[in-house]
């Protein structure tokens, strides 16, 4: 069991950190995390199938603005481990993965948003020395530690075992699961709010509302909104450039007039 647990921990660590070392390459999404777990646990087929099923489940959970809605890696690796080495039914594992992912997201939030802050003063100090190598040390060693910690729940989950886990999980009442699912659907709000904080400006805030209703009332998708956005922005820019041009022209005219007057009265 310890071997399996270690393999699961490694799979989680690799899936999660490679994602953040390779330009958010999406290796943390279930589709890829499942494959990685399958490779580490010696059952690629299961890894792939569980990954495909969970990718669909977690498809709508997206982290933007630095917020966290769910932790797909813990959920995926545990599900693969349960099916491949502890004989759980795939359907049960997938169902189990949802609350695990949501609870895992909570754990990850604490690490990501709170504990990680410990690195901040170190980076500051390193930068103040002017030695890039020191910064890099903090950044990568810190990163390694953070992603290791994130992988630990996976390790514990395997140690605990599929049966007890599923017993524990099954004791969670339906209403709590419903509540967690609702939380999962609401959490992107935090990410959106963080993005909004970055660029809110009362003068253009109405465009946020416009984007919202173009989706809610016109049934447009993101690409459609972007297309209309391009039109709107072009018109606004054209208009502003025009206004700028006119203003300058009128200032210039004013100056010229003033000059002429000076000549005239001189």
């Amino acid at each position: 069991m310890l071997y399996t647990a270690t393999m699961a921990l490694l799979a989680a660590f690799v899936a999660k950190w490679s994602n953040n070392l390779l330009g958010q390459a999406l290796t943390e999404r279930p589709l890829v995390a499942g494959l990685i777990a399958g490779l580490f646990l010696g059952d690629v087929q299961t890894g792939v199938l569980v990954g495909a099923a969970l990718e669909a489940v977690f498809l709508g959970m997206v982290d933007v603005g630095g917020s966290v809605t769910a932790e797909p890696v813990t959920a995926t690796v545990l599900a693969v481990a349960f099916v491949s080495t502890m004989g759980m039914e795939q359907g049960t594992a997938v169902a189990l993965a949802v609350p695990i992912g949501l609870l895992g997201g909570l754990v990850y939030s604490v690490i990501h948003l709170s504990i990680s802050s410990l690195a901040a003063p170190l980076i500051e100090k390193a930068a103040a020395t002017g030695d890039p190598k020191k910064v890099n040390l903090v950044w990568f060693v810190g990163g390694g530690i953070k992603h290791f910690i994130v992988a630990v729940p996976t390790f514990l989950g395997v140690l605990l075992g599929a049966e007890p886990m599923s017993v524990v999980m099954n004791q969670i009442p339906d209403q709590v699961i419903a509540g967690l699912t609702a939380s999962g659907s609401l959490l992107p709000a935090v990410g959106m709010a963080m993005l909004m904080k970055m660029l809110w400006n009362n003068k253009i805030a109405i465009y946020w509302f416009l984007g919202f209703i173009l989706v809610a009332y016109m049934g447009l998708g993101t690409v459609g909104v972007a297309a209309f956005g391009a039109v709107i922005v072009t018109l606004v820019v054209m208009n502003d450039l025009d206004a700028m041009k006119k203003e300058k022209a009128s200032i210039a005219a004013g100056t010229v007039a003033a000059d002429e007057e000076e000549d005239f009265f001189a």
Partner: protein
């Protein structure tokens, strides 16, 4: 005067920028390549709500800072400029690092260069760029890649994951490299002209509009809340409360919750508390049977 007027009337011609690096000296090219590779690690760590990805930004900038500031003390100063909060969609991040590199060069060369401009550009660009970037990379490209990937993987083949990675990452690399070059060239030619001529206001306004529009769209498509409450009616179908909420305003609750989170953030409430709050809210709704 006349110069500025020309700029204002046909800004296209003045800021035409190609994405080839052939017209750049070899050293610039080398630096850009190195920076491009380093953008991969923007999120290798995340320093909480204090700095977020500032360290990753600094890591990206090192080739430029090493090059332009031989003197360690000056370099230290420059490095410290990058320890303030930084967060951006990774794929468009190189626009900012490119611009900053060009500005650092100018700052290194010109004593009078106002380095606070660097901070300002960085801070004003990350919001709008993330709005557009997240919408495209998380909202569109990822979904397309997943659609194909799930289809292939459902047959049990590892090709699904591989197709998924390729479909997402190849455009990601191309866009990132293009952004890196673009940023540097913008920093060199555009930003200075633009800020001289007063165009900067127009540019940030346009970016802000697009950004907010996309975030609004993402909010409507990604934040969801469905009330499961029904009003039972003896002898006929129960009345769904959600139907009446939708009749009032579609997406009313998601919109209000998002605006609520935003208000709290603006009041400097820690995100973690907000996340916990949302979690609690969901749970309570679940326990009360408001959602199902």
């Amino acid at each position: 005067m006349s110069d500025e007027k020309t700029l204002a009337t046909k800004p296209e011609s003045d800021v035409k920028i190609n994405l080839s690096t052939k017209d750049l000296p070899a050293e610039d090219r080398k630096m850009l390549k190195s920076m491009f590779l380093r953008t991969n690690c923007l999120y290798a760590l995340w320093a909480g709500q204090a700095q977020a990805a500032a360290g990753g930004m600094l890591f990206t900038m090192e080739p430029a800072l090493n090059r332009y500031y031989a003197d360690q003390k000056k370099r230290a100063e420059a490095m410290s400029r990058y320890t303030s909060w930084y967060n951006i969609t990774l794929n468009v991040h190189p626009v900012v690092s490119g611009i900053c590199a060009a500005m650092e060069r100018d700052a290194a060369e010109d004593e009078n260069f106002d380095v606070s401009n660097i901070q300002a550009v960085k801070a004003s660009l990350m919001g709008p760029l993330s709005g557009v970037g997240d919408a495209f990379f998380w909202g569109v490209l990822r979904i397309i890649a997943a659609g194909i990937g799930i289809g292939l993987a459902a047959t049990g083949s590892p090709l699904g994951a591989i197709a998924f990675l390729l479909i997402y990452n190849i455009p990601s690399w191309i866009v990132r490299w293009g952004c890196q070059v673009l940023g540097f060239k913008l920093g060199t030619s555009f930003i200075s002209k633009v800020s001289e001529s007063g165009l900067m206001g127009v540019v940030t306004k346009a970016a802000g509009i697009l950004g907010l529009l996309m975030i609004g769209a993402m909010t409507a498509s990604n934040v969801a809340f469905n009330v499961a409450l029904t009003i039972p009616v003896a002898g006929s179908d129960p009345i769904m409360v959600q139907t009446y909420l939708d009749a009032m305003f579609k997406g009313l609750i998601p919109m209000l919750i998002t605006l609520g989170c935003f208000k709290l953030l603006k009041k400097n409430v820690n995100v973690l508390w907000i996340i916990l709050g949302i979690m609690a809210l969901g749970l309570v709704c679940g326990l009360l049977g408001i959602v199902a």
